[in-house]
Amino acid sequence: MDLQFDPGSFKDPDGRIFEYQGNIYRTLSASAAERMRARVADGTLAALIDQGLLIDSELVGASDVGLADADLGETVMRHARIPVLTYPSEWSFDMLRDAALVTLDLLQQGLERDLMLKDATAFNVAFHDGRMKFFDTLSIDDYTEGAPWDGYAQFCREFLFPLMLTSYRGIEFQPWLRGSLSGIPVRTFARLLSLREKLRGPVVKHVVLQAKLDRSFADTDTEMRSSFKTMKFSKPMIVANVAGLSKTLRKLSYEAGDSVWGDYASSHSYSAEDATTKRQFVDQAVDHLSPSTVVDLGGNIGDYSFLVAPKVDRVLCVDIDPACINTLYRRIRDGGPTNVVPIVGDLLNPTPALGWNLTERRDLFERIRSESFFALALVHHLAIGGNVPLPRVVETLHRIAPSGVVEWVDKQDAMVQRMLRNRTDVFADYTWDVFRTELERRFNIVKTVETHDGARRLCLLEPR
């Protein structure tokens, strides 16, 4: 039976995600099945799905989908497939914030229905169909009178603190979340804020006080801990805390810090004619290649992703600059094509395999592989900026997709000249001839068009 369990789904004994015959399912323990049946019966799942907060999920009989012999219990849950999963370290500011707000919204509605979320990790949320959506249905549990919100500290570590780091200090959170799959610990985060921040109400509450209490009592022995269990926490307090966090998050403004690309359009020299040529070339390339999936490498704010989105199933737009991806995400959220997936990523340092056994979270290349790539105004950043020899650049492009559009940028181009102005030119092999030879090893160059008076060339590449 060809059943693949998701290596990243193992922490919850109540159920695990698996793939079978192209569908995504979740096993359900007897108690989990009962819980989920109750959530269907009381309309909770339907309400959350209708509002776009929760991914499409339904209960199905194991035997009805051919899994009678799989020994997975009577009932499983089927979820809509998320074709390309991205991780919090690959999200931009508004993506992480919206993921946080979705979590809080779900929790607040849950509390109204006497429900609670078991945890509050950012990995419970995914970008899907143009929005941030919760997908860990098993996190929805029954509310126990007097119990605290167990996920509060985790919510702070994985959502609130990274967002505050970026908003208050202009430091992008992505590298931090890649390095630490469990977010920023409270005592550590308290050290990162200046006095000015520490005078803000929400900071005093969620950072200063929480850190102080954690520092004072985290090392207490088990006797103290058992007395924690006898403490009672009221629901109104939890509801108020959730509402307060939601308000605080909404008020944070995105400070892009030292974004290099914020000013892309004005600082990059495309004449109107060259711009039109490029757009037409890319458009026609997609007509020619007819890919169902495209990955736009170094896609900036997604102009070319948007251009071809109507013609393909899905476009992944990867860019190193979180400010650009944030702009792209906002454009999608404000009515842009929902088949474009924004991803913060650096081709010189892509997300590696992470987590338990190095299989819990998969590396970026494994997830972004597509039928065609766009490498527009990119190659010189890798070869000159990153000192990657052209053969290796081409090899990696080919690893990502077997066809696409690449833009060659000659050494005489203004941008490259700018990159070289303070450096020794060690790039004797950075020439069109070398590049073309490498391309011809792996692709079939169907068409070439020059722009910028010959300093740039667009190439349409078919699979070889």
Partner: protein, 102 residues
């Protein structure tokens, strides 16, 4: 500094009335603050974090503030006992030991 309430909560054989408050079991303190003592419902899927739990206690209002105040007070008391009354502590233990030894 470690907060060691073991001797507070277990030692029910305190002979010295002067330490009555410090020897009062924490459970009773919480009840005295108006919070209901429940048997543990805490089947937490993840570790809620000490700071996270106590912060929520604080957010709960005056009662929570009082409990946390008491926890800090107990720490201070312990510090003083260690500095000034180091002998008193061990004497207490010795007393209880000899009692149970009978």
């Amino acid at each position: 500094m470690r907060l060691n309430l073991t001797h507070v909560l277990i030692n029910k054989h305190s002979k010295s009335p002067g330490f009555a408050v410090g020897r009062f079991p924490l459970r009773v303190l919480i009840a005295a603050c108006g919070l209901v003592t429940l048997s543990s419902p805490a089947h937490a899927y993840i570790d809620p974090g000490t700071g996270g739990m106590l912060l929520q206690l604080l957010l709960g209002g005056v009662a929570g503030v009082l409990v946390i105040g008491k926890l800090y007070w107990l720490r201070i008391k312990e510090a003083f006992q260690n500095i000034f009354g180091g002998g008193a502590d061990s004497e207490e233990s010795k007393d209880s030991n000899s009692e149970t030894g009978n």
